[in-house]
């Protein structure tokens, strides 16, 4: 121990300006007295993000948070709940360390949980829907069943009320755009394939987002279902659920609960309404079910639980993705899945130009381009042929000449 320090710093000045408006992340954690991971969770749930002060008091490479936001978190009851949970987890840990498994089990079963309904505020639905659709495509574990459920509920509402406006099939997935309450909502649903998971992803962050989005979408769905007088959460036919035909089950549920308040389809053309479509084999069933239903069409598929059989005479279109192998129905139009999406894009049912299912269905523009390319190739071919012919002629003429000369000589 050295000499006691008798120096007293001068009285601190009141902070002003950006120094008073912003705090660094470490400071914020100190104010809130939470761990960094909990702080991140709060940021995600409360929608708190760093700010960009005009004058960075503590340096350029720091994260600045609005003090106002931090103070808001500080007064949130969720903070207390988080602390409670933290303390409780210590209890569980302690009991496990003491090999008291029974107590640990009991404590785990009685663990306090928290609800996020109070932190939901107006945020747009694009990100939640995209993320929930992505997680619905990830390997099916129980944790992710709720995502599948949420997706189907949302899609069922959209298709029931015919609010789908645009569909675009991209490499990344299928983009949908719906218009709900005058708001344009765009989301991306990945293709139904095995997703690639890499190591450089922090799933804790994503799951926190997902947790929030689940609650948000639950409440949104509830509100939407309330607006069309349908009870939420819906109770589905267990047989169809087992067949993974949730969307169809939901549409049946709607039919059963429908109380004449559902709007009649206004867009997407009534001409399509009575079309019956049948999906075959490898086509993306979920997506097409959704789109065709949103279209006002009637749709069925090959396999169990289908609404009507494949041999039904009233089927007008058959959606196929590969050259037909079985029996070809002459009364039906064989169309590619893209045809359905194209119809959606233009709000009008297009005439299928190709009856032959073996040919590619192409949009007009693409077809024209392809034709142009074909013509170009043909021309080139012709040109080469002509050249060859000319060469042949010349050679023939030379031969004749030689013959003549020989004849003369002789």
């Amino acid at each position: 121990m050295g000499k006691p320090n008798h120096y007293r710093p001068p009285a601190r000045k009141e902070k002003e300006g950006n120094a008073a408006k912003y705090v660094m992340r470490a400071q914020a954690i100190k104010i809130l007295q939470v761990s960094l991971s909990d702080f991140r969770k709060f940021c995600i749930h409360e929608g708190v993000f760093p700010g960009e002060p005009k004058k960075k008091v503590k340096g350029n490479h720091r994260t600045y948070y609005h003090l106002k936001d931090i103070m808001y978190i500080l007064h949130d009851p969720l903070l207390e709940k988080f602390r409670e949970i933290r303390a409780y987890k210590k209890k569980i840990k302690k009991s496990k360390a003491k090999k008291n498994d029974e107590l640990a089990k009991l404590l785990t079963s009685l663990a306090p949980s928290y609800k996020l309904d109070m932190v939901i505020r107006d945020r747009d639905l694009d990100d939640p829907l995209t993320m929930v659709h992505l997680f619905a495509m990830l390997p099916a574990i129980d944790r992710l069943k709720i995502e599948v459920k949420l997706c189907h509920e949302w899609q069922a509402y959209i298709s029931r009320t015919h609010k789908l406006r645009k569909v675009f099939v991209a490499v990344k997935g299928i983009y949908y755009q719906a218009e709900v309450d005058g708001q344009k909502i765009t989301w991306l649903a990945p293709h139904a394939r095995q997703q690639v998971l890499t190591d450089d992803i922090d799933f804790n962050v994503m799951l926190t987002f997902l947790e929030f989005y689940e609650t948000l979408l639950d409440f949104v769905n509830f509100q939407l279902y309330l607006s069309i007088n349908v009870k939420y959460p819906p109770i589905l036919d267990p047989r169809l659920e087992a067949l993974a035909a949730d969307l169809y089950a939901l549409s049946r549920y709607f039919d059963a609960n429908h109380r004449a308040s559902v709007q009649e389809p206004q867009v997407a053309g009534s001409s399509v309404k009575l079309k019956k479509m049948e999906l075959q084999g490898t086509v993306p069933r979920e997506s097409l079910l959704f789109v065709i239903l949103a279209f006002g069409g009637v749709v069925s598929w090959e396999g169990d639980g289908a609404p009507f059989s494949e041999a039904d005479d009233s089927i007008t279109h058959l959606i196929v993705d590969r050259p037909s192998q079985g029996h070809v129905y002459l009364s039906r139009d064989y169309v590619q899945p893209q045809w359905v999406y194209d119809c959606k894009g233009t709000d009008r049912l297009k005439e299928p130009s190709v009856k032959d299912p073996s040919r590619l269905m192409m949009s007009r523009k693409k077809r024209r381009l392809a034709e142009a390319i074909e013509i170009g190739k043909q021309r080139k071919k012709d040109h080469v042929e002509r050249l060859k012919e000319r060469k042949r002629n010349i050679e023939a003429a030379q031969k004749l000449d030689k013959k003549h000369k020989k004849a003369q000589h002789s």
């Binding site: 991140r40 995600i44 929608g47 708190v48 993000f49 760093p50 700010g51 960009e52 994260t63 600045y64 609005h66 106002k68 936001d69 808001y72 309904d117 505020r121 107006d122 945020r123 747009d124 694009d126 990100d127 995209t130 993320m131 992505l134 675009f168 099939v169 991209a170 490499v171 990344k172 997935g173 983009y175 309450d181 765009t186 293709h191 394939r193 997703q195 690639v196 998971l197 992803i201 922090d202 962050v205 994503m206 987002f209 639950d218 409440f219 509830f222 509100q223 959460p233 490898t282 086509v283 993306p284 993705d321 590969r322 590619q336 899945p337 893209q338 590619l360 523009k365 693409k366 381009l369």
Partner: protein, 678 residues
């Protein structure tokens, strides 16, 4: 004491207990009166009680409670409701009920009796008890929640019954009994009992109340924008929407070739395209997008880690920034259509000049001729063969003196046009006649310049020693200024026609002069050098102003008829408007010509000015100068006049306005003169 008493009884009992009189029980004389009277019942009671009690509990202290007169015990009084007695005394005699007074009587009695407020009716003993002052005090203390006796001290210091002083050892030194160390058998039995009951479901715990999981969070109206008010909340930017190139089957032009894909490797990592379009011919061949989870994760990171700033974008329609121009129709008349062409020259017309009355126009051409045309008919009236390319022609501004100054090569000819009446002609002939070649000028001048009589055209010939590029008349018609751009010292000469005098400009010129102009009303002279315009006052013989044109090579200058505004044209095709009152810097820059501006001109009366250029066009502008000094001149481009064709890389070589009509004459390198009318 009886276990339970009726209210009235108890009260009386309590009061009795409190009664300090009781202590004196023994002192009272026993009366033995059982048929107690209303008046002295208190006395009676006490006497009776003392009598009975003496028998039962002798040992009791003086504070013993007084037993009631009635001995029926704790039975409902209803049983004696219809009897004449209310019970029995200790001797077993009946206690008869008193006369029951009716309500009115009792009320009157109570009203009359001032002591009625401390009288209580004892139902059990059927008597009225009068409370003493002491008793009332007790009641009051009790009501206040204090001890009934005023002398009682509830907070008296504790006096221990045992004396601990000097005690070395505890009271008991017995070892802890074993029972304190073994679990209680009774307790374990009880626990087992509870466990069984819980298992059987006999004991149920309070379940946490099930709340509905979902409820209408937003209420009926979904307008809850105020939730976000307390936060500095900025909504995140939406993800970018896909374009054609992201389609699973985009058009061929979107697909990069292998070379292009290879070239991406050479780029910086940030610049590399994030997404390379691919083509899949059918739905079933689309694979999973490998970055789907990664993209989503990155979006999450962006959402909670990226600082958000509200950027203010200025969204201004560029059209609205343009100054409001008046409608062209309101600025009429101005020349816009070619009305006449004057053809006759063999080569490019270098210069034109309109007669002050506006009836005639003179033109000088490269073919060495000067022609005079009638404006309205286009008829060529006269031709002079000069022999050399005519650089410049200028009419004398006096209408009464129709003479023409013509510069051709190194000579300036002053031609008599022959117009005007006889008197005027006479005068002109006098003026243009030089008897003998004069050399009265200063000797240094005579070597450079000589006034000669030209016999051929019957005119004066001013012979310079270098090429004269332009000739300018003073407004009074007597002075004449010539410009020799090749010379520095004698570049600008001023000749007086009447006296046949020539003088130099008495100033040093910085740079080669290019163009000259006289002020239309005052004796001010403008000399444009290649970069600047110098303004001289001829009377005071000094420099007034220097206008900085900020141009590389000035080609022409024109002065507004009011005299305060000057336009300068340059060989870069730029036009500068100077407001001399405002500044020595240009007021307005008009950069509209693509090639050299050859000449600029003001109209004498209309608010018009024009510039002509080698790009075969002439521009007509509206240039209004207001009398109010606070108001800036209004300049509006009006019309582009086309029609001339270029030859030898030259276009329109000269332009000049009609003195009275809003007409513009242009002289072109295509050897025509055009008249544009309104």
């Amino acid at each position: 004491m009886t276990p339970s008493l009726t209210m009235g009884h108890q009260e009386s009992q309590n009061l009795d207990n409190i009664n300090p009189l009781e202590t004196r029980d023994e002192d009272f004389v026993e009366r033995g009166e059982n048929d107690a009277l209303n008046d002295n019942n208190d006395q009676d009671e006490h006497s009776e009680r003392s009598q009975s009690q003496q028998a039962i509990d002798e040992s009791d202290s003086s504070e013993d409670e007084v037993a009631p007169r009635n001995t029926i015990g704790d039975v409902p009084l209803e049983w004696y409701k219809d009897e004449k007695h209310i019970g029995y005394d200790f001797a077993g005699r009946k206690i008869t009920k008193k006369e029951r007074r009716d309500k009115l009587d009792s009320f009157l009695a109570s009203a009359d009796d001032s002591k009625s407020w401390h009288k209580i009716y004892d139902e059990y003993n059927d008597e009225e008890v009068e409370l003493t002052k002491e008793e009332i005090k007790h009641i009051r203390r009790l009501l206040k929640g204090k001890a009934p006796h005023a002398e009682f001290d509830p907070y008296a210091p504790y006096v221990d019954w045992f004396k601990w002083d000097d005690a070395k050892h505890p009271l008991s030194n017995a070892p802890e009994p074993k029972r304190r160390f073994i679990p209680s058998k009774w307790e374990s039995k009880k626990v087992v009992e509870y466990v069984r009951a819980i298992r059987k479901g006999l004991i149920k715990f309070d379940q946490p109340k099930e709340e509905p999981r979902f409820y209408s969070l937003w209420g009926d109206d979904s307008s809850s924008a105020d939730i976000t008010k307390h936060l500095a909340y900025i909504p995140p930017p939406k993800p970018k929407l896909p374009g054609h190139e992201e389609s699973y089957n985009p058009s061929l032009e979107y697909i990069p070739t292998q070379e292009e894909i290879n070239s991406y490797q050479l780029m910086y990592e940030e610049d590399r395209p994030k997404f390379i379009p691919k083509r899949f011919t059918s739905f079933r061949s689309i694979p999973a997008y490998e970055n789907a989870v990664k993209d989503s994760f990155e979006r999450c990171l962006d959402l909670y880690l990226c600082p958000r700033v509200r950027k203010k974008r200025i969204n201004i329609d560029p059209e609205s920034l343009k100054p409001k121009l008046p409608n062209k129709k309101d600025l009429r008349p101005y020349p816009f259509a070619c009305y006449l062409e004057y053809k006759g020259h063999q080569s490019a017309v270098l210069s034109i000049s309109v007669e002050p009355s506006g009836q005639w126009i003179a033109s000088g051409s490269k073919d060495g001729t000067v022609r005079i045309w009638e404006v309205e008919s286009g008829r060529c009236l006269r031709v002079w063969e000069i022999g050399e390319a005519v650089q410049h022609v200028a009419w004398n501004p006096l209408p009464a003196r129709p003479i023409l100054a013509v510069s051709a090569g190194a000579d300036v000819l002053i031609l008599n046009t022959g117009f005007g009446n006889e008197e005027e002609q006479k005068e002109i002939k006098n003026l243009l006649h030089i008897g003998t070649p004069t050399s009265d000028d200063s000797d240094d001048m005579s070597s450079y310049l000589s006034w000669l009589q030209d016999e051929q055209h019957d005119c004066i010939r001013l012979r310079h020693y270098r090429t004269v590029s332009s000739v300018v008349w003073h407004r009074k018609g007597d002075y004449l200024s010539t410009l020799m751009p090749a010379d520095i010292l004698l570049a600008v000469l001023i000749h007086q026609l009447s006296k046949r005098l020539t003088q130099r400009l008495p100033f040093k010129l910085h740079g080669l002069p290019v163009s000259l102009a006289f002020h239309p009303t005052r004796s001010i002279f403008f000399v444009a050098t290649k970069k600047n315009v110098r303004v001289y006052d001829m009377l005071k013989q000094k420099l007034i102003k220097k206008l900085e044109t900020q141009l590389r090579e000035v080609s022409s200058i024109a002065v507004h008829p009011a005299g305060d505004n000057v336009i300068v044209g340059s060989k870069e095709g730029k036009l500068r408007w100077f407001d001399m009152d405002l500044s020595s810097k240009p007021y307005q820059n008009l950069d509209c010509h693509r090639k050299d501006i050859t000449n600029v001109a003001f109209h004498r009366s209309y608010p018009l000015f024009a510039s002509c250029s080698d790009d075969d066009t002439a521009y007509v502008f509206h240039g209004m100068v207001y009398a109010d000094l606070n108001e800036n001149p209004r300049i509006v481009p009006l019309e582009i006049l086309r029609g001339h064709t270029s030859s030898d890389g030259r276009g329109v070589l000269d332009c000049t306005f009609h003195p009275r009509q809003p007409w513009l004459f242009t002289a072109g390198a295509d050897s025509t003169i055009k008249l544009y009318c309104h």
